[in-house]
């Protein structure tokens, strides 16, 4: 079946099998391998991407469900997303790095979704409950998210590039 999916600002039209999962569409059809497959059972969140600005687990979404929707992945060059990547580097919010694409995409969502709420430990922990990290113990990830929040608010200069 034909799908029309906008990924990172670029429109893709592909003929796919209905059972193709969004994560496989991104990795195998578009070669966007930044999005990782972790548990493949919608537990770990490594495959988190944004669909119309909201975080979803792309291993549990059919590519067909994303038809005519907009997907944002870790490869996107959004300045705020890049500020988050910077913060993860500076605060060492990763060790092996496998969960990191999902962590960063969920961070992108939780910072946007915070509105007037304080981005404190409590808020971050609640919002990060769908992402697993087996290395860091989460402390450095929480610090990275707080740093990212500051960077975005203060519109700090961004260093990360592809």
């Amino acid at each position: 079946m034909m799908v029309n999916i906008r990924v990172n600002g670029k429109q893709y039209k592909k003929d796919i099998e209905p059972r193709l999962l969004l994560v496989n569409f991104l990795r195998d059809e578009l070669n966007l391998t930044g999005t990782h497959i972790g548990c493949d059972t919608s537990n770990c969140g490594a495959c988190t991407v944004l669909m119309d600005g909201k975080s979803v687990k792309s291993c549990t979404v059919l590519a067909m469900q994303a038809n005519n929707h907009e997907i944002t992945t870790i490869e996107h060059e959004d300045p705020e997303l890049n500020a988050i990547k910077d913060a993860y580097v500076e605060e060492q919010g990763l060790q092996c790095g496998f969960c990191t694409p999902g962590m960063i995409m969920e961070t992108f969502y939780l910072l946007k979704d915070a509105g007037n709420k304080d981005v404190d430990d409590d808020y971050i922990k609640k919002k990060l409950s769908g992402n697993l990290c087996r290395c860091t113990g989460y402390r450095s990830i929480i610090d990275s998210i707080k740093k990212a929040n500051e960077k975005i608010r203060e519109k700090e200069e961004i260093h990360v590039s592809r």
Partner: protein, 285 residues
């Protein structure tokens, strides 16, 4: 992991949805958010030849306050958990929706799908039982309303026929106080068990009306009828709560498993139940 092969349909209105369901009946299933059914398909626990995605049908995603609080089958769990209308009129549903799985699953999953899937570990069935909700069910021959107490038959089994569509969730017990007490071993996991409590008091602080639903203590969500009847007209204190819990134990099945022994589980459930009653009673005053 890939699901088995299936045909995929995206009807644009209810009439074409009804037509597809009439055509494929047992060989089809409605897909709302897919957060329960896609994992089952991927693990090949089930295989469904015709998947019908209802997300393109307009008018199924609503949260409205008319005489009742009305929720559409495509209202995402995250939308319910962020809705002011729900927060002000139905704190139990508001609280429970925010405790379903994790943020990503809530963004995609729907309250309606949670109900229709009727996994005994799902949160919404117990909440709907505590709220005494009504479900409007539509098929090609018309509409009917089924109360939540008659809806959940068994694990993954509901009063829905293979060509039925859940088109509206109506909650008339609004303006109550309520909370959902969920016990999990991992933040984003299914509940080991959970208690939904919805309560309204008389002016003399006795219980006017109470709804209690339990998740994952039987093959389907449980409505604690006897406990509700016992608590009505009473002021809740420690002694009454413990008596209520002993009545509750007759209505549920806890077994030994890798999460703990029956005794251990009973101990935790008792704590959650007694503290929960106390908390909601305190909020209601």
């Amino acid at each position: 992991m890939y699901p088995d092969k299936f045909q995929y349909f995206t009807p644009g209105d209810i009439a074409s949805l009804e037509e597809l369901l009439d055509k494929y009946r047992d060989d089809s299933k409605i897909l709302a958010g897919g957060q329960s059914i896609i994992p089952l398909l991927k693990m090949r626990f089930t295989s469904i030849p015709n998947i019908i995605d209802i997300s393109n049908i307009k008018g199924l995603n609503f949260i409205e306050l008319n005489d009742d609080l009305e929720i559409g089958p495509m209202a995402r769990t995250a939308e319910v958990a962020a809705s002011n209308i729900v927060a002000m009129n139905c704190p139990l549903l508001f609280d429970a929706a925010g405790k379903v799985a994790d943020p990503q699953v809530r963004n995609m999953g729907t309250v309606g799908g949670d109900i229709c899937e009727a996994d005994p570990r799902n949160d919404m069935p117990a909440v709907m039982l505590a709220l005494n909700a009504d479900f409007e069910i539509t098929n090609s021959s018309g509409k009917r309303t089924v109360n939540s107490t008659e809806f959940f038959k068994d694990a993954y089994t509901t009063a829905l026929d293979s060509n039925d569509i859940l088109t509206k969730i109506s909650i008339k017990n609004i303006g109550y106080h309520g909370k959902y007490f969920k016990f999990t071993t991992m933040a984003s996991d299914f509940a080991l068990f959970a208690v939904a409590i919805n309560m309204k008091l008389n002016s003399d602080e006795t219980v006017k009306d109470i709804g209690i639903g339990l998740t994952n203590v039987s093959s389907t969500a449980v409505k604690a009828n006897e406990v509700e009847a016992y608590l009505k007209g009473k002021k809740i204190d420690e002694k009454i709560s413990e008596e209520a819990f002993s009545k509750l134990l007759n209505m549920i099945e806890l077994d030994d498993d890798y999460n703990g022994t029956k005794e251990e589980k009973q101990k935790i459930l008792k704590k959650i139940f007694v503290n929960g009653l106390k908390e909601v009673y305190g909020d209601s005053k």
